[in-house]
């Protein structure tokens, strides 16, 4: 009954007035951010991270707030998908397929309510799975040595490369760019300076926050500037329709299956909500074949599946972050960076040594999910009205928040200029079809990867065979090769 004991510790952390307030605030802000088209969870968390850091919140409270924004935004992403046919973020793309047709038929209210309920069950189910599996995984991970960690990270990068984006090679380039960012600064092993170009501000390495804000928020502003010219979004009226009990009964198995697959895909390192929702949608479509299906024209199963899956994957992606220190998605990569900034190293020992952080976060997610459901059923009108906020009011706020956030860390304008340069770089990358999540993942994991590789080779005196010295390393190496080759083999079989 260890779990219950730790969970009670978690709830005692999560139910303090400060943390309770932060969960609610995080969920509210998250839904708001998610519902605005274009600004997804990753941008929301990125923009708020420096603020949370500078206010001087204790680490568990900051994490609770940011996590609330994360899964709140996964909830909110569906609102613009359904009403505008514009996904709030990549994870909500599949929601447009059946959600928007429903809204067009005058069933906007039903679609919003049903998706809120599916999201709720998806994340609650995933949370329960997390409570069961996270401690087990962390027990397994305690036995990990440097070689295992090297393989684990290679596995994460391989999963990312083969599953995210159209061109795996671009993901590889992204990861390498991120890893190279991580080498900038004083080398911890020998104390020499690497790639600092003589700039004192870089001696400590590139600031994680500056990279995240520059790459996500600043490039987002540039993208908004570009797309504004052809922007005429029409809000579909919500209507008075509402979810019925029979709707929920009709999709209960859809939600169950999608939660399981969403959670599993979330746990896989590197892959996030967009893949989870796509897989769940595809699965349900195949399941329903022939059985009175009108997927793509407003089928409630096509709406429930991606919503349950993307919220389940948000919870799932926290599992490897907390237990292994390997983020499961782009947004958890940012959360991981946040933990590192607070001098907390996530990993197998986190659950044992700092249960208030790991379990406080998990408990807060239970509270947050209930709060989100409550917020999303009666308050949906409020968020819908926010969709019509003009970009001419929104963009100045985003720009201001990013500048204040970055400036308040060191009080140095160098960071502001550096952030803009990175923003331009990221804008070019995005326009060329690169995804930014691999870069953040590379940046966060770069130091750990190099450290573990060097440690492993120190132990062996330079003998590379140490990388294959235990059953676990063989398993992980095999998994890496499998992840690398599986998509090709599957393709070959299809033809």
């Amino acid at each position: 009954m260890d779990v219950l004991h730790y969970l009670s510790i978690g709830f005692s952390v999560a139910l303090t007035p400060l943390n309770l307030g932060l969960v609610l605030a995080g969920c509210f802000i998250g839904t708001l951010i998610g519902s605005l088209p274009g600004i997804g969870p990753i941008n929301g968390v990125a923009i708020l991270l420096p603020l949370a850091y500078s206010i001087g919140l204790p680490p568990e409270s900051a994490l609770i707030l940011l996590a609330g924004v994360y899964y709140g935004a996964e909830y909110g992403g569906r609102i613009s998908s359904i009403l505008l046919n514009v996904p709030g973020d990549a994870g909500a793309i599949m929601t447009t397929l059946d959600g928007y047709p429903m809204a067009k038929h005058g069933e906007g209210g039903r679609a919003l309510a049903l998706s809120a309920v599916s999201s709720f069950f998806g994340s609650m189910g995933a949370l329960l799975l997390m409570v069961i599996f996270a401690p087990l995984l962390s027990k397994l991970a305690i036995q990990f040595g440097p070689s295992e960690y090297v393989w684990l990270m290679l596995f994460a990068f391989t999963c990312l490369a083969t599953m995210v984006g159209k061109r795996p090679i671009k993901t590889v380039v992204g990861v390498v760019i991120g890893l190279l960012f991580a080498t900038i600064g004083i080398d911890s092993g020998t104390g020499i300076l690497r790639f600092t170009m003589g700039i004192p501000n870089l001696f400590d390495g590139v600031d994680f926050l500056v990279v995240v804000i520059g790459m996500f928020a600043i490039s987002e502003v540039l993208i908004l500037l570009e797309s504004w010219a052809r922007n005429d979004l029409k809000l579909t009226p919500v209507g008075k329709s509402f979810i019925s009990f029979s709707d929920i009964i009709a999709v209960k198995w859809v939600i169950f299956r999608s939660t399981l697959s969403g959670f599993l895909i979330g746990v896989l390192p590197g892959t996030g909500a967009s893949i989870a929702s796509a897989v769940a949608y595809g699965t349900e479509k195949r399941f329903a074949e022939g059985k009175d299906e009108h997927f793509g024209t407003g089928d409630i199963r096509g709406l429930a599946a991606p919503e349950a899956a993307n919220n389940a994957s948000a919870a799932g992606s926290m599992v490897p972050m907390l237990t292994l220190g390997i983020p499961g998605s782009g947004t958890t990569a940012i959360l991981l960076g946040a933990l590192l900034m607070f001098n907390i190293t996530p990993g197998p020992l986190l659950f044992e040594q700092q249960p208030n952080i790991a379990w406080g976060l998990i408990a807060s997610m239970f509270i947050g999910n209930i709060a989100l459901l409550v917020m999303n059923l009666p308050l949906i009108g409020l968020f819908v009205r926010l969709l019509s906020i003009k970009q001419s009011y929104l963009v100045p706020i985003i720009v201001m928040l990013t500048f204040v956030g970055i400036y308040s860390i060191h009080g140095d304008t160098f960071d502001l200029f550096f952030m803009i340069v990175l923003g331009l770089f990221a804008f070019i990358l995005r326009k060329l079809g690169f995804s930014l999540a691999p870069i953040i993942l590379g940046l966060v994991l770069g130091e750990v990867l190099e450290e573990n590789l060097r440690r492993a080779l120190s132990i062996s005196g330079g003998d590379w065979s140490i990388l294959l010295n235990s059953i676990m390393t063989y398993v992980l190496a095999f998994a890496t090769v499998a992840a690398l080759t599986a998509p090709r083999i599957l393709k070959a079989f299809k033809h």
């Binding site: 190279l180 020998t190 540039l222 504004w228 001419s392 720009v399 400036y407 803009i420 331009l424 005196g461």
Partner: protein, 145 residues
């Protein structure tokens, strides 16, 4: 086409990285791998990927018009201006100026854009500096605020 140019630039960069890493002056080291190897390995991976991208580039789907490019350049210039003014002029003045330009760029009428930015900067200053106690520059003009 853009893919090839970009990959070419990255290829040059990976060469530079390898060259720089190779010339790191390491006075002493206890471990076999040292600080050079990791960046060199990365630059090799990067170079290989870039060659691949040059051989097999993606079809270009981005055709920026002149109007879009101008908007982006203006946007970048305003942000650089913001960064320059932020410390010296202080949060309130710089945010008003920059916020007004952005609001105008996104289609607001000039006067309304200015009033909106002014209100935004004053309210945010109170929220950020007083309520959240963040390190927000007051600037030379309002040094004693």
């Amino acid at each position: 086409m853009f893919d090839r140019i970009f990959a070419g630039a990255l290829l040059v960069l990976s060469g530079l990285i390898a060259w720089t890493a190779f010339h790191f002056d390491v006075p002493f080291q206890y471990e076999p791998l040292g600080p050079k190897a990791f960046p060199i390995i990365l630059s090799i991976v990067l170079a290989t990927s870039c060659v691949w991208m040059i051989v097999k580039p993606d079809k270009n789907s981005w055709y920026p018009t002149k109007e879009i490019l101008i908007k982006i350049v203006i946007g970048l210039m305003i942000m650089v201006l913001y960064a320059t003014l932020f410390d010296e002029m202080g949060f309130i003045i710089s945010t008003t100026i920059v916020g007004a330009i952005f609001s105008w760029l996104f289609g607001e009428k000039p006067l309304r854009a200015f009033l909106y930015a002014l209100a935004l900067s004053l309210i945010s200053y109170f929220l950020l500096a007083d309520l959240m106690e963040l390190n927000v520059p007051t600037g030379l003009l309002f040094g004693d605020l």
